[in-house]
Symmetry: C2
DNA sequence: CAGAATCCTGTGAGATACTG
DNA sequence: CAGTATCTCACAGGATTCTG
């Protein structure tokens, strides 16, 4: 999904071996893959994560409701992503212990803080999708 | 990366066949995978996309500068993602036609509108990474 | 330098079946 | 209902080499 804990570690014998310098502060916005906030980004910048956070924005939902709300997600990915979000303290899982089982998911306080940025991205997508599509068809026409 | 044009199309014979209803407006934030803004999201919610947009935020960069600025990206993924961004009208490529070749990339006007939301997400990551890590270790300790 | 072309592998992710 | 367990495979994506 996104957690790739056993990332093969960029082999030292690579062709672009770190490329060390960056002598001046010219490229200040460099942050290494090891940088914690980069890892957080890697986690957040994920399709299903964004969609789940978005779906939970308005309140708790049950497993099945999430599955239905997020078109195209498989139960497997839903479960996996929810587990990750739970682990990262963004989503809380509440099992009511009833039978048939009833479990719901809600954003934690931390998760709520993420909802705003995510909503901004979604808003962008909704606002500018037309421009993107236009650019795309224009580009494709140009290329044949 | 994100473009998976030949996605095997969620087979109609699937076990959760659309699940049709959603009778009431209860889950208003459902948008199907076919919905355009969903597709835009699928494109945007990508690790490399976010990082490239972020890197170009402050001004044009050349290919090598981007490669160096974005730790962990391979030349292949950089090229691919740049091509996609170009196609979507978010990034403009300028080839100076010199030898040795010199090409630089900059955000288009459209791309610039995306920089803000993306920056918000990055800001979130930087601000809350600690909480996420804490939650994670707490959770992992709880589970053994 | 900025890529294109190739080869190869890990894993993201769907399909299916089983269970309390 | 809310999962878990498997099997499977396409493809994302890294490594490497080549070129104008």
């Amino acid at each position: 999904m996104t957690q790739r804990p056993t990332r093969p570690r960029p082999r030292p014998g690579s062709r672009h071996p770190a490329r060390a310098r960056l002598t001046d502060g010219h490229l200040a916005n460099v942050y290494s893959a090891a940088c914690p906030s980069r890892q957080a980004l890697d986690r957040i910048a994920d399709k299903w994560t964004v969609l789940i956070i978005g779906a939970l924005e308005r309140g708790p939902l049950r497993f099945g409701q999430l599955r239905d709300a997020i078109d195209g997600i498989s139960e497997k990915m839903l479960t996996q992503t929810l587990r990750s979000l739970e682990r990262d303290g963004l989503v809380a899982r509440q099992d009511h212990g009833t039978t048939p089982p009833q479990v719901d998911y809600r954003l934690t306080a931390l998760g709520t803080t993420l909802a705003a940025p995510v909503a901004a991205v979604r808003a962008w997508a909704e606002r500018y999708i037309v421009e993107v599509e236009d650019a795309r068809t224009a580009h494709d026409l140009g290329q044949g």
